[in-house]
Amino acid sequence: MPAGVLLIWGALVPAVVLASFVAVSALFFIWLERKVSARIHDRLGPTRVGKFGWLQTIADGIKLISKEDFIPPQADHLLFRFGPYLAFLGAFLPFMILPFGAGVAALETSLSAFLMLAVMSLEVFGVILAGYASGNKWSLFGGIRESAQMVSYEVPRTLCVVMVLMAAGTMNLADIARQQSGFFWNWLIFRDPFLFIGFWVFFTCGVAGCKRAPFDLAEAESELVAGYHTEYSGLRWSFFFMAEYGSMFVISGLACVLFLGGWQTGFLPSDPTYWLGHIAGNFVNVIAFILKCWTLVFVMMWVRWTLPRLRIDQVMATCLKYLVPICCVCLIGTALWTLAWNTLLPGWFTWRANPGLPALVQQESK
Amino acid sequence: MTITLVHYLVLAAILFVAGLVCLLVKRNAIGVLIGVELMLNAGGLNLAAFARFNRSFELDGQVFTIFVIVLAAAEAAIALAIVLNYYNNATSIDIEKAQELQG
């Protein structure tokens, strides 16, 4: 039984650490979003609570907790309660798979990229459920829009991930990040032109998947009051917010791992774990990874406060008429490019440390 | 008591029967579809359990389970398209009202 107890501890510790990381980073992101939006609007943003207003989110959190927990009488009570937790679960589960550093992941399997796609598709469920269970037609519209948008944008997002998997020859996110060690021109985004396009498509799909502007049709306030979370207040509503900021971090993290070198700093010749030891090296790694993710999250905020919201038909057309064909072309392009590196130019650019798909089969045949 | 194959098979049987009950009881056409999904899942669980408990079926079992999952996806897509079409014609998805073909 001690082995079992040890296993349970080994499961609980990462879970608690990650859950608090999600909550704290949500606090930070909400403050950052206010500051960024204020600067873009030429305002100051929160300044009163704490230095630079950094305690503002905590004050808001206390206000939210003390608010009345109201469930509208026409709502489906059970599903109304499920909604926020399911949304948060969908945003939280991918953190379990995300590699924060060399060997710093709660769950490292050979299928982690596939598993990541699987759990990331769960998040939409909470939103749809919330929209449906509120018993409000605006919420229902928000839910339907959200489901249509998410299901559509999953297609190009998945194709972009498949592109990287083909180029890297593995489904293990940690291995993909390890392949990109060294200077930043080793990152997969700079590997070939198709992956370069793929990154931007992936990031666009990520923004759409987080329901962020310009794709926030599920909560378009000028049309739908507040969309799927119209009827929510207090703590339940804050769960939706944590889910949104959590999934922003996750999609940025996935973009980092797949295209931007994961935890590699990009200006060190090799992984710092080699010459600093596992713990100190990973300290550098984790900091680099989180900073990269924060940069991408900042770009998302920048986009949100810069671009106008699309119409729902424009959102669907962007995905199905433009992004999906672009992805298909890039997919074939990446496949041919990988094949060309491995067959036509064997031995060239071996410093890219890139086995590719044919190499996998060769490995197996040994 | 260690977990044996029979545990998995009994669980799959419960799933299958629940699916059958769902299939027979629901008047909503989508409910019938949900019942079918449950039954297919029971089948998949059976195959996976067999694959695990006899190593010579390990790969076959997984391949067939994936086959079942993909078939379920295909079936759901077509069935929902049919349901939507039927709803468009009859403005109802109550299958007890779907009696046009009876003559």
Binding site: F114, L140 | A18, L24, I30, L38, E58, L84, N88
Partner: protein, 196 residues
């Protein structure tokens, strides 16, 4: 009770309980939510069995795909909020008799069969790498799947080599056909509305 067994009982309880709730619930969206818990439970069982690829596929296709589709269809066909269509009491009686009878027959058959060759303690932790690589190579039709993942020879049984390229091709073509079919059905609907 070891930890895998304990996890099995938890997952089994979750799966069976929500399966029954799926069948019993009169409201269709609640049914779908219980179905989600059932599917997640089955995915958990696949993970427990060591088939990570199956578990992830189950989550991706069922929970992320089919279930969203189902809820989408419910929303598109809803008449009034939270419509219920309960079955009659006699109907329920017949169904319970049929279901209970079937369950009794299956269970008694399972318990009376001797499961020779299906060993009782295979829940050892094996490296998932070989597992999913073997599966991938099998799907590619490569006999190296066997080489990478040698199967133990069972006495009295012909050792067969698994090639699943054909299955893989059938799945692909099947999905393509379904895609076209579903698109056709949706298209036909729009054409009819314009004609009317």
């Amino acid at each position: 009770m070891s930890l895998p067994d304990f996890i099995f009982w938890c997952l089994a309880l979750l799966t069976a309980g929500s399966a029954i709730a799926t069948a019993v619930s009169t409201q269709i969206v609640r049914s779908a939510v219980w179905l989600m818990f059932t599917l997640a439970g089955v995915a958990g069982l696949y993970f427990l069995l060591g088939f990570e690829f199956l578990g992830a596929t189950q989550l991706l296709i069922y929970v992320g795909g089919i279930l969203i589709l189902v809820i989408f269809a419910v929303m598109l066909t809803a008449q009034g909020s939270f419509s219920q269509m309960p079955a009659s009491r006699g109907h329920w009686l017949v169904v319970i008799v049929i279901g209970g009878g079937l369950l009794a027959v299956i269970t008694s058959t399972l318990l009376s069969t001797s499961w020779e060759g299906f060993s009782a303690s295979p829940l050892t932790k094996q490296t998932d790498t070989s597992n999913s690589d073997g599966l991938a190579l099998t799907f590619l039709g490569s006999s190296q799947g066997e080489a990478a993942h040698p199967l133990p020879a069972v006495p009295g049984q012909i050792k067969h080599i698994v090639h699943s390229l054909f299955v893989f091709e059938i799945i692909s073509v099947h999905l393509l056909v379904v895609l076209i079919g579903a698109a056709y059905l949706a298209r036909a609907r729009r054409a009819r509305r314009e004609a009317a």
